[in-house]
């Protein structure tokens, strides 16, 4: 394709200041927190615009709760003992759907490359994505929890705050581990199949602690509930450190 007039365009336009002058408009560098905040805000803005991921996740989680509330019945009453398993299965399965879709968006325009190419700290990119996914999972939990209480006829009283804390810790643990694996599998063709295969074995301790803590809370065993809550917090702390340590190495080709 010939480009007429290209030669005339080879000199810098008068309106454009020289590089050194333009560089004075650069600030020193994006901080960790500012970058993480920008990435999280961008992800949530994209989601607010389409609402595709949160609707899919919430609908799927709600269906699980409703179906199991009819499945686990004894003496014409929903079994309270099923609540921990139902709630955590709903959160984890819905979260996996959301995780896959959230990273599909990064794949569409190959924008994950753009994020990794920027001078922003790569760990801040990871932190931002994790915060956004955690927010989505918490939004799903905000629907799952009342649905479980309603359909299984559970009255937790003040312990509902403790359950909210357990679910929030679970959301964080799920998002931290999930973000690393979803980012790592971004370029793999069979990522939809592989993501649960590699993710769930690592989530097993978290799911176990979550169900145990929820079950103990429902049974009124507050001491046990706090033990498993601390276990969940320790799980999160370990995987935040491991993920921050491995993220960059895992996402570069």
């Amino acid at each position: 394709m010939p480009i007429d007039g290209l030669s005339e365009n080879l000199t810098m336009p008068a309106s454009c200041p020289p590089r050194a002058q333009r560089r004075t408009t650069m600030v020193v560098g994006p901080s960790f927190l500012r970058t993480a905040g920008a990435v999280a805000a961008k992800d949530l803005r994209v989601e607010l615009r389409s609402r595709e991921v949160v609707y899919t996740m919430t609908f799927f989680a709600a269906v699980i709760v409703v179906v199991f509330s009819f499945a686990f019945v004894k003496d014409q009453k929903a079994l309270i003992e099923a609540v921990p398993g139902v709630a955590w299965a709903a959160v984890v399965f819905a979260g996996t759907i959301g995780l896959g879709r959230a990273f599909d968006r990064e794949r569409e325009g190959d924008t994950m490359r753009a994020l990794l190419l920027s001078p922003a700290p790569r760990l801040a990119v990871f932190a931002g994505k994790t915060v956004a996914i955690t927010a989505l999972v918490i939004a799903v939990e905000a629907v799952v929890l009342p649905l479980c209480l309603l359909f299984f006829n559970v009255d937790l009283g003040a312990a509902v705050l403790h359950l909210a804390l357990i679910l929030a810790l679970g959301a964080l643990g799920f998002s931290v581990v999930g973000t690393v694996f979803a980012a790592m599998l971004l370029r793999v063709r069979s990522r939809d199949v592989l993501l649960p295969v590699v993710l769930y074995p690592i989530l097993v301790p978290m799911i176990m602690a979550g169900t145990k803590a929820t079950g103990a809370l429902l049974a009124g065993a507050t001491g046990d509930a706090w033990f498993w809550t601390q276990f969940l917090a320790a799980y999160d702390a370990v995987f935040v450190i491991v993920s921050l340590w491995t993220f960059e190495a895992l996402v570069i080709e």
Binding site: M1, P2, I3, G5, L6, S7, N9, L10, T11, M12, P13, C16, P18, R19, R22, R23, T25, M26, V27, V28, G29, P30, R34, T35, A38, K42, R45, V46, R49, S50, R105, E108, G109, D110, T111, R113, A114, L115, L116, L117, S118, P119, A120, P121, R122, I252, E253
Partner: protein
């Protein structure tokens, strides 16, 4: 501080059993436009990926030189690199302005809004288009936005992989203008293209790859289309 030189030394890249690059040596200097040419599968995009720091070479090394000092491939170095790739590297659900403001923020550009509008002026995306989500753009408009994104931090190493794809005459002119400006500015510009006619006039340095190997290097201030075509057919075919 801008990059003055990039030295690619004996760089190789394997993807499993496939050898995408084999012992490639190239030296890129500031103020030059390098046309990176070769048939499909020659390893051009892999080399661009390695130069961008997003792909790790399996062997060899890339040295980025700032003034006289070599620099590590760290966060700060990436500010000097602008990449226009096959994909847009922009978010379809955001508008052009939102995309550029977001990336300007990641690059630490002051006044991101003003920078975004200035860049969109330069690549010729008009006022109404800027406020539409990128998902509604034509291929050429996406390519213009991708160019603006690559230029957001005024990089001193500009990597353009098939930049003329989808551009109309106006877009190609704007791109030619930017290439000339970047060269006059002292940037290192690497252009991967099959459109020899579009790139010939601004080319200072021709690098031809074939099956992952470097087969020809030639430096000359500006080529004619006929010269560049002859060089290409002699070495790439």
């Amino acid at each position: 501080m801008p990059l003055s030189r990039v030295a690619v030394q004996k760089v190789g890249k394997r993807f499993g059993q496939h050898r995408a690059l084999v012992g490639v040596d190239v030296e890129l200097a500031a103020g030059e436009v390098c046309a990176l040419l070769g048939p499909n599968g020659a390893g051009k995009s892999t080399l661009v990926g390695i130069l961008s720091t997003l792909v790790r070479p399996s062997s060899g090394d890339v040295t980025y030189v700032e003034g006289d000092a070599a620099r590590r491939a760290d966060d700060r170095l990436r500010r000097e690199i602008g990449l226009l790739a096959h994909a847009s590297l922009c978010y379809g659900e955001l508008t052009a302005v939102e995309n550029l403001v977001f990336f300007a923020g990641l690059y630490g550009v002051a006044e991101p809004q003003a920078r975004a509008h200035a860049l969109l002026d330069q690549v010729g995306l008009d006022g109404k288009a800027r406020e539409r989500t990128v998902r509604t753009y034509s291929r050429g408009m996406v390519q213009r936005l991708a160019l603006a994104r690559a230029l957001v931090a005024d990089p001193s190493l500009l990597l353009l992989d098939e930049p003329f794809t989808g551009l109309d005459r106006g877009g190609a002119l704007a791109l030619g203008q930017r290439l000339g400006q970047a060269r006059a500015d002292g940037a290192i510009v690497v252009v991967v293209t099959h459109d020899l006619e579009a790139i010939a006039e601004v080319t200072d340095h021709v690098v031809i790859l074939r099956r992952g190997q470097l087969v020809h290097v030639e430096k000359k201030r500006g080529f004619t289309y006929a010269e560049l075509r002859d060089v290409y057919h002699r070495h790439a075919d």
